[in-house]
Amino acid sequence: MYEELLKEMALADERIVVMTAENRALIRNLPAVLGKRFIDTGITEQCMVGAAAGLALRGRIPVLHALASFLSMRAFEFVRTDAGIPNLPVKLSAFIPGFLSDGNGPTHQAIEDVSLMRGIPSMQVFAPADAQELGLMLPLILQSPQPAYIRICHRESTYQHQTEVAIGKAEVIAEGKDVTLLTYGFMLEQTLIAAAILREEGLSVGVVNMRTLKPIDQALLLRLATESDLLVTIEDHFITGGLYSIVAEVLLKHQQTAKVLPIALEEKWFKPARLPEVLAYEGFTGKQMAEKILGYTTQAFQPAIEQTAFAE
């Protein structure tokens, strides 16, 4: 699906070039379709990002398909200096961020990527929750004249998103007086399960899919802070610099207080394993998160979590 989407967009706009640092598993058919507009630089994330800046300087819109950890960290200074400083439309399509790196181990865990990328002044940061949402967001991301980091999650989901998307606007899935769950990307899947369990326990539960982490939907966060008794930030990211930090920054900036419970990775990398086992081990299944919020265990049913397909 991701490949089809990229293909369609690239065929419709001559300016788009697709680049990769030899991460071809998900885009095997693009070289034949795009010809010279498919550029594989080999395992050279730094050179790929610098070259993308050069291509953008000439009017191209490079979409860089590579692993989130190497795009955001190995090539960080190139992203900041070559795409960030001149504000060039280099689009970082970052694969297997957060828990999606499942069995790879800490080298491949991009769980500080939001923190790093949103620190770059011109950078926009996006986190689609699934394939449908990625499809809705990608055209906007590619049209924006700014550099972008896309925390790719393209799993299939049964949840039907509201189709109205806008940069800097969150998707309010439900409003709730007692507690509002704020999340982004892959964690929406388990957040929806947690919300259902909390409702069974009699709570009024809101769910917000942030969609864009930078720019952030400030007005929404400020409203929710007054309308909901508790905000819970849920993210497969270090507690530092991600959504919990963003919420804290927004509230402090507006001299507003709120009860906020973070569910994030605290000062450690996660245990590498098959995805469902990672979530259970780290306490990030919908049921575990609901019970953490409730403060007691339940007899709720935790649906099976689908294993990811190998992406590299």
């Binding site: 080999g42 050279t44 610098g50 050069g54 000439r58 191209r60 070559d82």
Partner: protein
């Protein structure tokens, strides 16, 4: 190259060196590295690059990327000679009133991309050369690197990628002044045999005296050296060229002299008596 042309280039380079030396005070500049690259930069803009001062955004223009950004005083001086940068702006060096500082930026006319962090512009130049191949232009892309800069791993990524993508519209020029910030390159991270290194990476190499305009003319006469191959000119130069009192010295990289020392250095540049320099040597790295 006829005698008149040679004299013109030498006179231009001399004026550029005067302007460089005048920036080495009141905050200072990377004097040694700027003087070593002066003849290269003057030659490229005056003789080689297809860049029209009246039409800097011409889509058919050649590109120059100064990856070794700290030699930008030589570029400022050359852009003044071309008439694209007003000489008065150099008086704003290191002032918040302008954009003239220690590294290149795009607020200065004809500068295509900022630099300062070493090892970036080889990759950017590769991207531009790739797009020219995709779009089908005849533009040439030149990237000037320092020899110390060759320590950076990202340079070698770009060298591999340029070869793999057959970028024969790409030309690297190494200002081989034999010093990096604090010491001789061969004492810290030996680079030789440099020609062999680049040949082993599949590049076509030419090594010349980077202060000899005849050599430069020969090196840039017929590019690419081979179809489908990127070219590199390794230009042997002298750090601080033109000022015997600082030439080829490890401790004269970044310089910040007094007004009277600058006067003496300008006299020294014109072949008069050597300057007596009391200012401390500075190493900012």
């Amino acid at each position: 190259m006829n005698e008149l042309k040679l004299q013109q280039l030498e006179q231009t380079a001399l004026r550029v060196r005067e302007r460089i030396i005048q920036l080495a005070t009141d905050g200072g500049c990377f004097l040694g590295a700027s003087l070593s690259a002066t003849d290269l930069i003057v030659y490229l803009y005056q003789e080689f690059l297809n860049i029209d001062p009246q039409n800097l955004s011409d889509p058919d223009r050649d590109y120059l990327f100064l990856s070794k950004g700290h030699d930008v005083p030589a570029l400022y001086g050359t852009l003044v000679e071309m008439g694209v940068l007003e000489a008065e702006r150099l008086q704003n060096h290191l002032s918040t009133n302008d954009h003239i500082y220690w590294h290149p930026n795009t607020k200065v006319p004809a500068i295509e991309f900022h630099s300062g962090s070493l090892g970036h512009l080889p990759a950017v130049a590769v991207g531009v050369a790739m797009d020219i191949k995709i779009s089908g232009g005849n533009n040439r892309v030149v990237c000037i690197l320092g020899d110390g800069e060759l320590n950076e791993g990202s340079v070698w990524e770009a060298v591999l990628v340029a070869h793999a993508h057959k970028l024969d519209n790409l030309i690297f020029v190494v200002d081989r002044n034999h010093f990096q910030a604090n010491m001789a390159t061969e004492e810290l991270i030996p680079l030789e045999p440099l020609v062999d290194k680049f040949e082993a990476f599949g590049w076509e190499v030419c090594r010349i005296n980077g202060h000899n305009f005849m050599d430069l003319e020969e090196a840039f006469a017929d590019l690419p050296y081979k179809k489908n191959k990127p070219s590199i000119v390794i230009a042997d130069t002298v750090r601080g060229k033109g000022l015997p009192s600082i030439e080829a010295r490890a401790d004269r990289w970044f310089c910040n002299f007094t007004a009277s020392e600058i006067e003496q250095l300008l006299q020294e540049l014109h072949g008069e008596h050597a300057a007596t320099l009391a200012s401390e040597t500075l190493v900012v790295r």
